[in-house]
Symmetry: C2
Subunit: 421 residues, 2 copies
Amino acid sequence: MLPLMTQTGLKGRERAFDRLCHRLVGSGRLSVRYPSGAVREYGDGSGDAARFHIRRPQALVRIALNPEFALGEAWMEGDITLEHGDLGDALTQLLKAGGAGRAGGMAGWLRALRRLRRRLDQFNPAGRARRNVAHHYDLDDGLFDLVLDADKQYSCAYFEHEGMGLEAAQAAKKNHIAGKLCLQDGQRVLDIGCGWGGMALTLARQANVSVLGVTLSQRQLDVARQRAEAAGLSGRVRFELVDYRALEGRFDRIVSVGMFEHVGIDHYREFFETVRGRLAPGGIALIHSIGRMDGPGYTNPWLAKYIFPGGYIPALSETLPHVERAGLLTGDIEVLRLHYARTLQAWRRRSQASRERIEALYDRRFFRMWEFYLASSEAAFRSGQMMVFQLQLLADLEAAPLTRDYMYTPAARQAEDRRAA
Amino acid sequence: MLPLMTQTGLKGRERAFDRLCHRLVGSGRLSVRYPSGAVREYGDGSGDAARFHIRRPQALVRIALNPEFALGEAWMEGDITLEHGDLGDALTQLLKAGGAGRAGGMAGWLRALRRLRRRLDQFNPAGRARRNVAHHYDLDDGLFDLVLDADKQYSCAYFEHEGMGLEAAQAAKKNHIAGKLCLQDGQRVLDIGCGWGGMALTLARQANVSVLGVTLSQRQLDVARQRAEAAGLSGRVRFELVDYRALEGRFDRIVSVGMFEHVGIDHYREFFETVRGRLAPGGIALIHSIGRMDGPGYTNPWLAKYIFPGGYIPALSETLPHVERAGLLTGDIEVLRLHYARTLQAWRRRSQASRERIEALYDRRFFRMWEFYLASSEAAFRSGQMMVFQLQLLADLEAAPLTRDYMYTPAARQAEDRRAA
C-alpha cells in the first residue's frame, strides 16, 4: 500500500479494473495511471515498477474483457502508453505475474471460443498459406533492412558467447545449424522457408552442395535471387516461389528455420510426412522453430490478427507424435531459452533508433504495432512461456555421428576431419 | 528360392509356419531348420543368414500365435537354438524385417488384449514397485559382477570415442551426466534409483556435494553403503531403501539413470510432479531412460514376465506432456542411438565368457533367458526401435548456461572456470 494509492479516487469502470489488477498481478511490481489521473500500484513490490498510462476509459473495458487482444490494440491506438520503464520489461512482469499469460483474465466462454477458433485459424491450404505469408513477409524491405542484421536473418540468433552482438550471433546461428547438418560435398539441400536466402547461401559457402530454397514471399524470392547472383553462387543455389508440399524428389539435407511456426497444428502430420518423403537415405533434417515451453496453448489473438495469421507455436509434446508417426528418427533436440529474447531486444533497439524512418515508411500506428509485437514476444521468452527448439531428424540410424561432439567442433576442424577421412 | 528348399518336404504345422515366415520376413535373410529336418530360407537374400533350428513341433504353434512371447520362452527351454550366426544379429534382422516388431504377426485380438494388459502391467503402487524391483535387481550380485563393468553401471554406456571399451564408456557416461548437472560445491543431490551407488559416488568425487541415493533393492543398498564406506565418502553420500515418492525436502540436483523405465505410463504425472516438487529454485534434473523411437507401444510380454515386471519404455511423445504439465522447463534432450546396442553387446560377450559360472549360480535355463534378454534388447536398439534419451529439466530459466558448450568442455576445464568465476 503506497501513499500514491490514496491521492485520487477511482471512477466507476476504473474500480472494476483495479480489482482485476489486484487479482491478476500477484508478484512483481506494476503501476497504472487511470484516465481520471489516479495512480495505483500492483504486485508484491519486487522489481522495478513500470507505469502504464491508460488514457481512455473505453480501453479499460476492452482490456478487462480480453487483455491478450485489447492490450495490443490499445497500444497501437495510443490509448495506453508507458510513463516510465521499458515495454519489454513491463510485459515480462505481466506474463510472469500470470496476468495476460495462461489465466488470461478473460471469462471461460472466451477461452472456449478461442479453442474453437484455434482450429479455424490454422487452416492453411496452399492458397491461404501464400496470403498469410504475404501479410508479413512482403512488408516493405526497407523495414527489415533497418531492423535485422546485414544478412537479414529473421529468426532467433545464437548468442554463443557472452557479449556477442546481433550480427555475430546471427552468423553463429547459421554455423550452428550448418554444423548439425554434417554437410558433405555433392549433397542436395532443401531450405523450406528460405527467407531472403541467407541460410541457403551460408550452406553453399560451407560445402560444395547445391541448395534449393523455397519461399511463398515474392519479395523474399527477388532479394534471395539477386543475392545468389551477386555472390556468384546462382549455379548452385536456386530459389523458387513454391509451396514445400508441391516439391518432388529427394534431398540429402533439409533445413527449415522459422517456418514451422506458420504450419498450423492440423498440418503437422503433412509437414513431417513431407520431410520424410523428401529425405534421401542417410538424410538429416533440421527444424528450427519457436516452441511453447508450458504445453499446448493457443495463438495470442492480437498476434494472429496483426502479425502472423494462420500461425501456431507448438509445444514439443504436440510436435513429437508427428515426428514418430512419420517414421523420422529424432537425432537431437536442443532447446534455446533466452536467445530469442536477446534477439528481439536487439531488433527493438534498432527499431527505436530508426523510429522516424519506419514511421515515414508506414505511419505511427504501424510503428506502435511493430514495437508491441517485438516487446510482447520478448516478454514471452523472458517469462519462460516460449523457447526455440532445434529438432534434428534422421532418415536412418547412421545418418549422424554417435555423439554430439561434432556440433561443438569448429567448422574448420570439421572440414579437416572430413578431408582426412 | 535356394536349392535347399526342395531337399525335404514340410510336415503339416511346418507348412503353416513356413507361409507365415514368407509373409513376415520381407527383407534380410533368415533360415529355419524345421523339426522334420527340412530347411527353408526367407527374406530377399541380403545380409548374412542366421539359421534357427526349431526342435519341437509344439514351438511352431506357440511362436506363430504369439511370437513376441513364445520365441523367448522357446529359446529358454532349448526348443529353438541357433545353428549358425549370432543371436543378436538374427533378432535384429527379424525386427528390421518387421517380423516380431510392430506388426508382430499375432492376431488382432491378441494386440487388443495386450493394450488392456499394458495398463494393468504398469500399475505400480509402492508395494508392488518394490516386488518388481526385487524380481530383477536382487539377483545374486555374482551375476552382475561377472557381466557389468567394475563400477556396476547397469545402464547404457556412452561410447564417446571410437574403440572405447565398456569400462571407459561407463566412466564417460557418468562424466557426461555429471557435466549436464553443472554441480557446484555445497549442493544437495538426489539420485533416484541409485543402483549399486556408482553414479552417486562419482558425483561426490567431482564436487563437494552431498548425495542421497535411493533404491528399492536391499542388495543394491547393502553394496552401495559398503562402497561409500570404503571410499571414505559415507559422510557426504547416504543411501536409503525408500520409494522416491516418499521423500521430502528440496534438492539442487536430481539424477535418475535407468529407473524411469520402471515407472509405468500411469505414473508419469506423479513422477514429474515429484521431481518438480523436490527440485529447489535454480535446480537441474537429469533423467536418463530408454525410449521408444517409433512412438507409443507396449512392453514386450516376454520381457514383462521374465525380466522387468511393471516396466514400460516410453516414447518422447508420451513423456513430454507430463514434463510440460508439471511446470518443468526442458533444458535439453539428447538422444543416444546405438550406444545401448554396444553396451548390451559387451554385456553379452562377458556373459558368454562366464557362461559356466553363471549356469553354476543359476541353471542352464536361466542362462538362456539372460542371453535372450540381452540379445533381443540389443536387436531393439540396432533396428532403431529403441534409443536412450537424456532429459535435462530445469526449475527455472537461468538454472543452466545459455548454450550446451559446457557439456562438451572437459570436467577439469569446467572446474577451473568455476574457480575463476
